[in-house]
Symmetry: C2
Subunit: 208 residues, 2 copies
């Protein structure tokens, strides 16, 4: 029932429903999603949705849980590792952009999920998988003290990094209009960012 690896292949009805729900919920959100569309995409009847998952609410909860449990651990692993700072920053940006490239809906989905049900997020879903940034913070402070990087508050550094990785995917259509890019150009542009963001951050950290 829990399914940590997420969708290990099978083509059972339950799985097909889950996958269809995953698509629809991530594209349209809880309110915009309709059970009929989920049934259609799964190629089955509406009634079966309720047979396997009691209600729309429950089905949504399953999908939300799966997405969060899939996205968080990889991030967490990098940020809590004991790599040296520069290498950690490189890996973090690379991992983060890789995950989001493959599932661009993730940041927005998690954000609106937290907005709507902060309690559920805290209680049921997150506690085990939430990254603890303290190690990273102390690492930054140490390098500042040693004069290896310029003076910067670690909280702002990490928020800057996450912002530059996640936002372009959330705001992709807006970026495309602003920069006047087609879908192809945009794909290339987003791929470049793994390198560009890393360079940008490390350049900013050079001691004065």
């Amino acid at each position: 029932m829990d399914n940590p690896e997420l969708q290990p292949i099978p083509d059972t009805t339950e799985q097909k429903i889950f996958e269809a729900a995953h698509e629809v919920f991530t594209q349209k959100g809880m309110d915009g999603a309709k059970m009929q569309e989920i049934a259609d995409r799964a190629g089955i009847n509406k009634a079966l949705l309720h047979y396997y998952y009691r209600s729309k609410e429950k089905l949504y909860e399953m999908v939300a849980r799966a997405i969060i449990n899939k996205a968080m651990p990889a991030i967490r692993q990098v940020i809590e590792s004991d790599l040296p700072l520069e290498e950690k920053i490189r890996r973090f940006i690379g991992t983060y952009i890789d995950i989001i490239s493959q599932n661009p809906y993730i940041p927005l989905f998690i954000i609106s999920e937290i907005n709507k049900h902060p309690e559920r997020f805290f209680d049921a879903i997150l506690p085990a998988t939430l990254p603890k940034p303290e190690v990273f913070f102390r690492q930054v402070e140490a390098e500042v003290a040693a004069g290896k990087i310029r003076n910067i508050k670690p909280q702002h550094l990490i928020v800057n990094i996450v912002s530059m990785c996640a936002f372009p995917f959330i705001g992709k259509p807006m970026m495309r209009i602003l920069l006047g890019m087609g879908t192809g150009e945009m794909r290339i542009f987003l791929e470049e960012r793994k390198y560009e963001v890393t360079t940008f951050v490390l350049a900013s950290l050079r001691p004065e």
Copy 2:
């Protein structure tokens, strides 16, 4: 509610409806918003909503237009100005964060608006107010060529800046959990960002 410039004050029924709709639509989106809730917050009856604004769709359109027309011109003015690059970056970050601080829902609203109705956005709402970044791009390229800043692609620079300004507000609840901050600490943290983002960007641009 705080309402510094927006909505010229009066307390006519039409205004009260608009303000209530503004709140509900920005908090819950088009699908999540209910006409009943808008009526309740405006302290009037559901039927009156249709008397003043023909339909939910029309009411939403009014709100969307107002938000976009309020947010864009200030941005545009800065980015299209003929200020020297460093000063332009300072002003842009300052202006952008000021606007979003006062109306934190704006970025997410515009993003989901574009996602759902790209045509409407292009045709009706934007063309006049959309910022043209070409001047800024050429300015960056000139300073790179002159060796005044390190080599950087202007498109990535502007996306970096917008990301660092907007994302922390969009993802505020997530940031709070990640950084373990209370609402008060978070408010201070977001205020600091005007300075921190500016410093971060200018530090990154230092020639090597």
